[in-house]
Symmetry: C2
Subunit: 445 residues, 2 copies
Amino acid sequence: MSMETSALLTDLYQLTMLQTYHARGMEELAVFELFARRLPPQRGFLIAAGVEQALDYLENLRFTPDELAWLAGCGRFNQRFVDFLAEFRFTGTVHALPEGTACFADEPILRVTAPLPQAQLVESRLLNIIHFQTLIASKAARCVLAAPGKLLVDFGMRRAHGAEAGLLAARAAYLAGFSGTATVLAGLRFGIPLFGTMAHSLIQAHDREEDAFEHFAAAQPDNVVVLLDTYDTEAAARKLIPLAHRLRARGIAIKGVRIDSGDLSEAARRVRRTLDEGGLDQATIFASGDLDETRLRQLLADGAPIDGFGVGTRLAASTDAPILELVYKLQEYAGKPRRKRSQGKATWPGRKQVYRTFDADGAFAGDYLSLEDHPQPGEPLLRPVMKGGRRLSARESLNTARDRIRAQLAALPPALSANQIALAYPVHIAPELRWLAEQLDRELH
Amino acid sequence: MSMETSALLTDLYQLTMLQTYHARGMEELAVFELFARRLPPQRGFLIAAGVEQALDYLENLRFTPDELAWLAGCGRFNQRFVDFLAEFRFTGTVHALPEGTACFADEPILRVTAPLPQAQLVESRLLNIIHFQTLIASKAARCVLAAPGKLLVDFGMRRAHGAEAGLLAARAAYLAGFSGTATVLAGLRFGIPLFGTMAHSLIQAHDREEDAFEHFAAAQPDNVVVLLDTYDTEAAARKLIPLAHRLRARGIAIKGVRIDSGDLSEAARRVRRTLDEGGLDQATIFASGDLDETRLRQLLADGAPIDGFGVGTRLAASTDAPILELVYKLQEYAGKPRRKRSQGKATWPGRKQVYRTFDADGAFAGDYLSLEDHPQPGEPLLRPVMKGGRRLSARESLNTARDRIRAQLAALPPALSANQIALAYPVHIAPELRWLAEQLDRELH
């Protein structure tokens, strides 16, 4: 069984709590909500992502015979409980924000309603799945907003945190509006467009830079993008001109060049001039190297003649804000709202819904967080996506979700679409919800 | 095929370069080295980790029929090349630092010697594997140095970046000296000791906090650690006292308590007093919530009576330094040293070795980076671990590597073991290496 589908990819306390629930027959309906406690100071909004993978996980969740044998032998669990786990399936209901919805602190991305043991066990992996893709889609959306109309490609796999992060960063970035990825497996698994050029090693393995360019061009004549900065960027651009003319005679065009180091703005300007003067005005310039939304804005504000960007490490590890405070909290059990009051970590109790209002231009004008049975102005965002442990509709295509994000980014208030975060987006707490929280606090005293 | 073993978990450019190498018959021996270009400003040393997983990857690397069919149909590769990939195996030699070796900028963690296409293809995933575990082992080592003798447990799976990150963060933290992890799958896969208590949801699902404690204690009487901060930490500690006496009559001991929010130092002091006065002086206090090495030092300097710590998100995503500048560079091809000279990214050419010197007390006294055939004072650190694509010795046990790290941490110079980073550790570049780099630069002009 692969690690990403294992029921044991969870925290030990889930299993010890389940043993308690099982021993006490505590199997009534529980409602858990997954949401961001607060946003990182570097983020004005989040893009909810990973719901599809979360539903896959829930649909396929079961303990394998090997896992059950290991649990029975580890000395912590009694056989009656292990037998219960052998039959364990997720049979609950899930409400979720549509993949790619812009969302804010306190707003549930996912709501799980299921018998307490089922809703409890899945906490750790649901967080792990939704957290990562939401993290990356949110970061990628900022890049897309910073470089409208530019080709953006995910280059981050090598320094993403492991295999799944590499693969799913490609998915989350594509959802958010990137043109594609360098990660080949994301092409096979998700049909995401692939992009790639060459590494410095190809140049270094040749004694002459122009031989490397020529051999590469001959081997894939349809997609010739050459890397200029192995030794001296401008010298490489100059060497490219006569080669390009020779290749043209063989029917091969230089599609573009890549620059990966130095002052990208200045280098791109000089390379552009050399290419234009040499008759390569159709060749595009692609830049990479420590890029993120801040650098993209700087380069474009500076008028750098760059047509596309490879965004790698800083995207795939979201380096300026490498985690989100996503949590998964019990809000109702056995028909009764529940509230955690830990210092600095109190939650809004009950089954909730998010309502979004829009201004005359269709831009987001503020949200209401409310109890599900107390509607507010605006459009309700959480929708049922799973019932009885099965998806309610077929898997949505990646491009449908991608179109949704494009529309969401277009409807952001101007301060958010400019990646400014000083002005918080208003999320109003409905009066009934405040009242319920106060009532629960009084009962606890 | 699971994602973590797929040959397509690589960057597209590796395959396009391979097609070029294949077309030109460029299959002579290449030497690539994997190393940190520089250390993050927050790190004084790194702990090399993940070599075992890297060797697993190399030993098992092959393209599946499905992957080959997909490559043949994607329009980028010719059939002759796809046929070449069908036979593709890694048959090279690998030298590596022993798992858990402390290392510094420019020092190779891994050196791969293989026919150029083989050594090239594996770049992306080798980086992805070594990067993550080295990142986490280095962070975890700082926590271990900050809290000597304390119980440290990895709690980070839920906000680690995906499944593999969750699982391997547990491994890397245990290697670095953590006592164990909450991630159950790491117990099954690696035999790492598991720790866990209860979540707030168990408390919230009960109408009375003391009922939750009692039910939990009855269900796993051997390991009763209760969570105090769901509503009011001190009140919960007071409720625990009479319950503990009732449980003792049934032969059940309260092993400890956990505090997860608020001013941990102050809360621990008050809880300690309450427990001691109530006859629970044997019960330990375990703390969690946004912990890292800095908070651990503060809490311990403050004299907080805390016996163990759950270190989660900030460990598993290494939030203060979420990436390392690890790179994998061609240093020799066809018997000739190679050098990349890109601005700010130049490399030291040739096959290298790291020599470590020690002072009279056995502490690290400085390293030499040299060409392999120019020995320097000190102990050579890189050792052969794979030949002909097969491991040279049986897999090392996790505890052997763990013992090695304990010894490495004890031998760090005092500034590094105090997590101070102002004074850089000396890595001397041997004169022959400087000379070779200069010679290559001259040839390129």
